[in-house]
């Protein structure tokens, strides 16, 4: 049977306000049960309910990649998916990749290669690059460019981003 997170439609034609329900997310290794309405995007759940604001909202329409997180190790845009669709999934955000004292290899490479200006796209770039490393399919610069094309940078820091990702890919 389906697990339905709603009450029956009200008489009189107006839909009953839909209740929130518990959604269990394993975020950066920690299990959190959040009370969420079905229309809460994974991005809003992370930022507004789990208070992890590293993940950024750029376009909210799948067009920029700023909201990229890893779900069960794979990169997706958290703005175009609902939190309820990820009950029991493992979510990794930029906060889960490293800490200021202990940067991940990609985070360190972004610093070393000056791979940002304003930094707004950076968490998405790094999570996407981590997804790319997990996939293991990009080796050449051309392949990295193509497989990082889902992340836009309005500051145009692409040269540094490419260098940073290439350095970590080469060490893999």
């Amino acid at each position: 049977m389906s697990q339905t997170l709603t009450s029956a439609p009200a008489s009189g034609g107006l839909p009953t306000p839909v209740s929130t329900g518990p959604v269990r997310l394993h975020i950066n290794g920690e299990t959190q049960t959040l009370q969420l309405a079905p229309w809460t995007s994974l991005l809003d759940a992370l930022r507004e309910y789990a208070h992890l604001t590293g993940t950024k909202k750029g376009c909210d329409h799948g067009q920029c990649g700023a909201c990229t997180v890893l779900v069960n190790g794979r990169r997706i845009n958290s703005c175009l998916t609902l939190a309820v669709m990820h009950d029991d999934d493992d979510i990794t955000t930029i906060e889960g990749l490293g800490t200021p004292e202990n940067l991940s290899p990609l985070q360190q490479a972004f610093v070393d290669h000056d791979a940002f200006q304003c930094g707004y796209c950076t968490p998405g770039q790094i999570c996407s690059a981590q997804g790319l490393l997990n996939e293991g399919r990009a080796h050449s610069e051309a392949e990295i460019k193509e497989l990082m094309s889902g992340n836009l940078c309005r500051c145009g820091a692409y040269v540094g981003i490419l260098d940073a990702v290439k350095e970590v890919v080469d060490k893999q």
Binding site: M1, S2, Q3, T4, L5, T6, P15, P17, V18, A37, P38, W39, S41, D60, H61, G62, G65, T68, R74, R75, I76, N77, L80, T81, L82, V84, M85, D87, S128, G131, L132, E135, R137, A138, A142, E143, K145, E146, L147, S149, G150, N151
Partner: protein
């Protein structure tokens, strides 16, 4: 977003039953198109049935030598599947030419077939659009129609189907398996999407409540001579203005079998059977390719800002046929925009 209810289906029967029990509800796969449309209020289903975790994600051999692509397999898993790479490289290339890695990781095969047009006015609630609101008129005719179609259009709608994957599928001709309130049936891919005619609100021939369960590819994969050529405003992460899928079988320099389909030009992936006939038995020469390309666009109609697509399509067909005949695109490569 607006309030709606949600449930996660446990099996196909449960999904079909749940959807039938909620008027106006929708299935949701990866959500990459539907959630976008819901945020824009273009679609407002009061209830969503999540089908993404149904046990339909396998890619498996069929007894007839074909390959079954599960409806909930992601676009990424499908593109990078070893069987797909080896036997249907045209499909691998077309999927990888579309969207971004993040989107392909979420998008499902069923959702890809069902994705809606990218006509600007379809998204713009302030303007008339017959597809969004039947009978309201078509703003693209006489408006900004750069992304719109040139073949098989009607006075009611000139929108295009935006998928890349579906252009390769049109050439490979799988069967779409569906399950609905009245049981199971299969639909030839050619008959799945439709032309707009008087009823552009219908993108395809699915009956209310039907769920796509798989795409069954026939054995023939055109793995030696194929090309997917996609032309767009930027090199990656952009929809096609025009795309061409070609599959050829060759005996020396002679074409013995051919498939040819176009994207970005029509309300459905545009397979041209008569052009395929014209290719069969012919030498793979520039003369043959030019003749066939001219034939494909002979009845094309531009609407102003999309006039350029007619010449673009003609040239793209010639180039894709040449690439396929020469075996220039290699199986499994990352698609790098024709480099």
């Amino acid at each position: 977003m607006y309030p709606f209810s949600y449930s996660r289906a446990t099996d196909v029967a449960d999904a079909v039953r749940d959807k039938a029990g909620h008027d106006g509800s929708a299935y949701i796969g990866g959500g990459t198109n539907l959630i976008d449309l819901m945020k824009m209020n273009v679609e407002q289903p009061p209830h969503l049935v999540n089908v993404a975790k149904l046990p339909l994600s396998k890619i498996e051999d069929l007894p007839d030598g074909g390959l079954r692509l599960g409806a909930t397999a992601t676009n990424s898993d499908t593109a990078w599947n070893e069987q797909v790479k080896a036997r249907y490289p045209l499909l691998n290339q077309a999927i990888l030419a579309g969207a971004s890695p993040q989107l392909r990781n979420a998008a499902t095969n069923g959702g890809n077939l069902m994705q809606r047009t990218r006509c600007y006015y379809f998204y713009d609630l302030a303007t008339p659009c017959n597809k969004r609101e039947p009978g309201s008129g078509c703003s693209a005719i006489g408006g900004f129609n750069r992304v719109c179609g040139i073949l098989g259009t009607s006075e009611a709608c000139i929108a295009t189907h935006p998928s890349d994957m579906c252009v390769a599928l049109a050439a490979l001709a799988p069967t779409v398996r569906v399950s609905g309130p009245n049981g199971e049936r299969t639909i030839a891919f050619e008959d799945f999407h439709r032309l707009p005619g008087e009823q552009p609100e219908f993108d395809n021939t699915l009956v209310e409540g039907e769920l796509i369960t798989s795409l069954d590819l026939p054995e023939k994969g055109f793995a030696k001579h194929f090309a997917y050529l996609k032309l767009r405003d930027r090199h990656s992460y952009a929809f096609a203005l025009v795309s061409v899928a070609v599959g050829l079988e060759m005996d020396g320099d002679t074409i013995t079998d051919a498939r040819l389909a176009l994207g970005g030009v029509a309300h459905k992936p545009w397979r041209d059977l008569s052009a395929e006939q014209l290719l069969k038995g012919q030498p793979a020469t520039a003369e043959t390719f030019g003749r066939v390309a001219a034939h494909v666009v002979a009845n094309a109609v531009g609407r102003g800002s999309n006039d350029f697509k007619i010449e673009l399509a003609r040239r793209a067909i010639v180039r894709a046929l040449k690439q396929a005949a020469e075996g220039q695109q290699q199986a499994g490569d990352v698609y790098l925009g024709g480099q």
